[in-house]
């Protein structure tokens, strides 16, 4: 079985006591049984998305069997975005795009994101976006906002990070995934109540759920434990832990 962690970060972040010290990253991946981790850098110390993507690429080159690179762009710099997307996917060979509207302080369906989505639609890429409700205020990424986007930009495969996070958000996330074939749900969360994974699987379907840990904000051993100890079939666990991601990213 190949385990792929869909959601991880590079960089340090004090609020979360997050430190990306790479040997510790690898140690925890090994202890969790994770073969490969998708890594993005949305809080590079330079504040420059290009530098963050370079850092991701550097780590992937150093550990090509362990890490899968993920691009990040910020619509705060619209004049740079398309060039950087072309470079990130065509030169650095990063595999999907992460966006984080909380930085922008505008909802995910704000028009400032549309050039990115139009580019993504033309390239039929995967985009993962933070999707959380009611944990984050204001609710820039509440899951129901993605339905309209997924219908309009229907060649993009949308991944809702955290599957909505809290129960109210999970209900919206499941509803969005049921309405749109191109919406998938990622599992990392420090909020999920008893039965969360079982709920996601029974409502959205085991083919639509992707295991992610959000390391180094959360420990992958705790997060993978949410899948391994869930009351679902072993075949569903295998899909969630890696098969679905491999299929989504054509790995």
């Amino acid at each position: 079985m190949r385990i792929i962690d869909f959601h991880n970060h590079l960089g340090r972040h004090a609020e979360f006591m997050a430190d990306d010290e790479i040997n510790r990253f690898l140690k925890i991946m090994d202890a969790s049984g994770i073969d490969q981790a998708c890594i993005n850098c949305i809080y590079h110390y330079s504040g420059d998305h290009r530098e963050g993507n370079n850092y991701v690429s550097e780590i992937v080159k150093k550990y090509p069997d362990r890490f899968i690179g993920v691009a990040y762009v910020s619509p705060l710099y619209p004049e740079e975005v398309i060039d950087e997307l072309n470079r990130a996917f065509d030169v650095l060979n990063l595999k999907y795009l992460k966006i984080y509207p909380n930085y922008l302080q505008k909802p995910v369906n704000d028009p400032s994101y549309f050039p990115i989505f139009e580019w993504g639609n033309s390239r039929e890429i995967v985009i993962m976006c933070h999707a959380s409700y009611i944990f984050d205020e204001p609710p820039y990424t509440r899951p129901k906002l993605f339905v309209e986007l997924a219908k309009r930009f229907n060649k993009i495969k949308w991944v809702l990070a955290h599957s909505g996070n809290m129960k109210q958000g999970q209900i919206e996330a499941v509803s969005a995934a049921k309405q749109c074939n191109n919406i998938f749900l990622e599992t990392a969360s420090s909020w999920g109540e008893h039965g969360t994974i079982e709920y996601l699987v029974s409502e959205a379907g085991e083919d639509k759920i992707l295991y992610g840990s959000d390391m180094p904000l959360l420990d992958a051993r705790n997060q993978i434990g949410r899948i391994i100890t869930a009351n679902i079939s072993n075949s569903a666990k295998q899909k969630i832990l890696g098969e679905n991601t491999a299929k989504l990213l054509n790995l």
């Binding site: 969360t196 420990d219 051993r221 434990g225 869930a230 666990k237």
Partner: protein, 253 residues
């Protein structure tokens, strides 16, 4: 390729330091009966659980506590923990129930119950808990850190268990644990990266308690985490059950 086992069960005895039972008035929980809760505990390999009433926490301590006592009285699985609301409870009534039913731990929730966690408000209660060697559970979301530090520092022969510590409070919780040896940490929301090693590097292993916060969190992921931290069987046993047994002063619970 890895050899991960998809069927996990704990290797040691587990005594959960933090579960709640009871229906809620504002939403339907995935598990809301005692029978269902015990089934979930069994499935997770938990042999006992320190249990408080959600009604006690969110609505009224006295009526919730009374109901909890009736539910847990003949249970092999559920060990009662009373919720103490010093702003509304009768001291005589609360202490007499603690004595009658040999209650070994209580839970306080200053923010939810709208009272300052300061000596002029809680001294008489804390002094009684000290005399009876009753430990105090308090959620770190429920208290001002400065007030908490002051009360714990002034009562060093009372054991305080800090529950539900999340990465949001991790910085001050770690410092408080390092400074005050009469504090313990319950692990239900302690999911920060390498968080178990961080604790073991800074405080005695005897001050760490497994708790799940069930049903607001699942029981098993944190147990899985603990089982994959390369801990000795002794350390794992202390965290999963023995520390709690010792804290409750009652190996027979």
């Amino acid at each position: 390729m890895n050899n991960i086992n998809l069927d996990f069960s704990p290797d040691v005895e587990v005594f959960d330091a933090n579960i709640s039972i009871g229906r809620r008035h504002n939403r339907r929980m995935p598990v809301d009966t005692t029978t269902q809760a015990i089934e979930c505990l069994k499935r997770a390999g938990v042999s006992k659980a320190l249990t408080f009433s959600t009604h006690s926490l969110y609505v009224d301590a006295q009526s919730g506590n009374n109901n909890l006592i009736s539910i847990t009285q003949n249970s092999n699985y559920l060990v009662p923990q009373l919720v103490c609301n010093p702003g509304f409870e009768s001291f005589e009534n609360f202490t007499s129930i603690c004595t009658k039913f040999d209650i070994r731990s209580i839970r306080m929730a200053p923010k939810l119950h709208d009272y300052p966690f300061q000596h002029w408000m809680i001294d008489s209660w804390i002094n009684w808990f000290k005399k009876k060697k009753i430990s105090i559970w308090i959620s770190v979301w429920e208290v001002n850190p400065s007030e908490l530090y002051q009360v714990i520092a002034e009562n060093q022969d009372v054991s305080f268990v800090l529950t539900e510590a999340h990465y949001r409070q991790s910085k001050w919780v770690l410092q408080l644990l390092k400074k005050l040896k009469n504090t313990y940490i319950e692990l239900s929301r302690w999911a920060l990266t390498d968080g178990i090693s961080l604790l073991l590097d800074n405080i005695d292993e005897k001050r760490i308690l497994f708790g799940s916060r069930f049903p607001d969190s699942p029981i098993s992921p944190q147990l899985y985490f603990l089982h994959n931290c390369n801990l000795s069987t002794k350390t794992l046993s202390l965290i999963c059950a023995d520390n709690l047994k010792r804290l409750l002063h009652n190996e027979n619970h």
